[in-house]
Amino acid sequence: MTGETEILEPKGSGFLPPYRILDLADEKGVFCGKILADMGAEVIKIEPPGGDKTRSWAPFYHNEIHPEKSLYFLYYNTSKRSVTLNLEHSDGRDLFKRLVKTADVVIETFPPGSLKKLGLGYDHLRKINPRIVLASITAFGQTGRYAKYKSSDLITMGMSGYMQVTGDPDGPPLRLGNEHSHFPASQYGASAILAALYYRDTQSGKGQHVDVSVQEALLTYYLEQVPAAYWLHHKQNVTRSGLNSPVLIPGGLYPCKDGWVSMLVATADEWETLARWIYEVKKNEDILDPKYKGVLYARQPYRDVLTAYFMDFTVEYTKQDFFMEAQKRGLVALPANTPEDLVKDPQLTARGFWVELDHPIVGKLKYCRGALYSDDMPPPGRAAPLLGEYNEQVYCREMGFSLGELTSLRSSGVI
């Protein structure tokens, strides 16, 4: 065992300093580690010896069920390294503690109190490494009466009220697709970690525990609806409004030949332009009636009749044609893109949004570069890791175990 850490890859070439982050997160926080890894942090995904549970999650590459072919795993773990480690095993926990000594951050999403029970709570970790930042991302936070509630994407979507404002007024509350609840909390988690590291490195020299609640994060993703304040003022509840805004006419989604287009008119001039365009195409004289003229809210009393006119009109176009024609006329309309549209989108392609990454099993696919562009920020450079791909590098070359010791750690179920 050597005390020295051998540096095997050029470090510090990313945007972020090469902070070492131990990533224990499940789906609630997997995007948090991805954000930081894609920005250049050294994120080590710690998987149980049988592999992270999301390796068995659909969809799969070529629909072949295989732990290295889950597209879910591949998407959310770019730029990370993988080691296996069994936290249920006492030797595994010792090994984890040794990793904590070398790390800046631990990200975890276990039910509150679980790490403490394993002897790995924040109070234990900071004794091992006072500089460690522990980020906990859980459904309802570390404290309060719901802290131990069982949860999932759907449950936090409901408990945050997000579903109360999604869907048709007459229909059931809806959730957003792609387990959307996990994004806000993961984003806040990434910001929280970077703030805690900045504080550590400029002021205190010490880490801290940050507690992110998925429910609260979601509650800050529809602030303009002010649901609590609305109730306190009106003793009524904000609710779902369907495909279109109840007050902005037009505002929302309208049907096209091949899907949906979104459109919103803000100014009186924009209304003039739209009304004339509709008249051109549909010869609808009523649309030119002066009573419809005006800014934002002017058309609110005529919602039903105008919405019928719009639907009759937009359906004459494909969503892309409508988008292009609207923009040409100085109106704001955008297609409701599908994932296919996005992969083929000329804007994203021209911007260099797609980054081709090669994976030893599934080969090359185009991944998102991320939300941020900077000349100083190289795009993600590595596809998701194979299960335990970095065991030898981390345990042997960095921590000094021999290959023989690695084999015995493996056979005793520690890694």
């Binding site: 940050v210 602030l223 649901p227 007050v247 000329p346 941020l372």
Partner: protein
């Protein structure tokens, strides 16, 4: 509701960091508001005449939303079309760490504030430029609103049903962008600490949203699969959805992932005869008969309030929750315990009057930053009227004399 706390100055994560903000609407102001809560000094430079549309939100109490977007900021009014105003802004840039804007680049260039010019003023400046569809590419010059961009980002077509996409009554892509903005800036601060270098980062709303489409982007490439809208259902969980409860527009959510959870649910429901039918005995069977299952579970939930269902099921280890309405959120004990909603006063904007004469309104309610830091708790406090801090910004920071201030005011530089 929690009363505003006195600002704690000695352990703020971003003590000593100065942010200069020139921007409008939601995503950019919300990002810098979070930085203010983390302890940065945020100076918002704005027009006191052409007011941010966010001042008029929500329509029933204009100004209330600004409790979210102006927390703890300093506000200085400045006419950026005036060359003297531009000179003052440059002097503020010289003493700031971060410059955040969502102005178009052509507008900034017209003001002599394009990015290379800013970098000349301060070499290690961190510049965050937030855009809509992106600052370049074929759609780079297109007009767009955050409320519509979210539909271009892909999630709408993955929510609800093909005939009826799931639409949120809010501009959620703006919020993704807001928190990517903070991540970008915090990452850049950490990087500057090590390298001494500033940077320029662009954060578009479009890409911020597309990143959240996730594995579906790979699934289209690998398997030519067009995403199927998810409704409230789940490929390996049933029951999984929103169910009607006693009361007006009252719903609960239930998610059953395992047979053990199913048995617990049956027990809570009193083991009615139908739960013993063979077709519901396995997950595969429940998924095959999901419509009937949902109907039967809904018949049971109708007999109870959403809170009663949640309490009964959580006690037995079944993931469940309420679909929270404003009333539920405003009175929720868990959120109260976590001090999530806070109380503050705000101002009713009136473009015809000086901002110092705007009437005070309130109390209004706003949300905490959904991160609890053990060492550097976020701070909260008042919001500024436009121009409220002119004396501080121009007098104390820029050290203009009273006479200079008076002359500039007469020339209309501070409007």
């Amino acid at each position: 509701m929690t009363q505003p706390r006195k600002k704690v100055l000695n352990n703020s994560a971003l003590k000593g960091v100065r942010v200069l903000e020139v921007g409008l609407y939601i995503a950019l102001p919300l990002a810098s508001r979070m930085l203010a809560s983390l302890g940065a000094e945020v100076i918002k430079v704005e027009s006191g005449k052409a007011l941010d549309a966010a001042w008029f939100s929500p329509t029933w109490s204009p100004g209330l939303n600004q409790l979210e977007f102006r927390q703890l900021k300093r506000s200085a009014t400045l006419d950026l079309r005036n060359p003297k105003g531009q000179q003052l802004l440059k002097r503020l840039v010289a003493m700031s760490d971060i410059f955040m804007t969502n102005y178009g680049r052509d507008t900034l260039a017209r003001f002599g504030l394009d990015f290379p010019q800013l970098k000349e003023i301060k070499n290690d400046l961190i510049i965050l430029w937030q855009t809509g569809l992106g600052g370049s590419g074929p759609y780079g010059g297109y007009k767009a609103y955050g409320q519509l961009i979210q539909h271009a980002c892909g999630i709408s077509t993955m929510s609800g049903t093909p005939d009826n996409p799931g639409v949120v009554n809010a501009a959620y892509s703006d919020y993704h962008t807001a928190i990517f903005n903070t991540t970008a800036v915090l990452g850049a601060l950490n990087r500057r600490r090590i390298t001494g270098n500033g940077t320029l980062i662009e954060c578009p709303i479009y890409e911020s949203g597309v990143c959240t489409v996730g594995p579906a982007l790979l699934n289209y490439q690998a398997n030519n699969i067009k995403a199927i809208p998810s409704e409230n259902r789940h490929p390996f969980a049933a029951p999984h959805g929103a169910y009607p409860c006693k009361g007006d527009n009252c719903w609960c959510v239930i998610a059953v992932f395992t047979d053990v959870e199913w048995e617990s649910l049956c027990r809570v429901m009193g083991n009615p005869q139908w739960t013993r039918e063979a077709k519901f005995a396995t997950m595969a069977g429940r998924l095959r008969n999901v419509s009937e299952l949902d109907r039967l579970v809904g018949e049971w939930t109708r007999g109870y309030t959403h809170r009663e269902v949640t309490t009964m099921l959580q006690r037995e280890g079944v993931a469940s929750g309420i679909v929270a309405k404003g009333e539920d959120l405003a009175t929720d004990e868990h959120l109260k315990h976590r001090e999530f909603y806070r109380e503050g006063t705000y101002y009713t904007a009136n473009p015809q009057k000086k901002s110092s004469e705007w009437p005070t309104a309130g109390p209004g309610y706003y949300t905490s930053v959904p991160i609890q830091f053990s060492e550097t708790p976020c701070t909260y406090g008042p919001i500024p009227r436009p121009g409220q801090d002119n004396d501080f910004v121009y007098g104390e920071l820029l050290k203009l004399s009273a006479e200079e201030m008076k002359t500039l005011a007469e020339e209309g530089v501070f409007v």
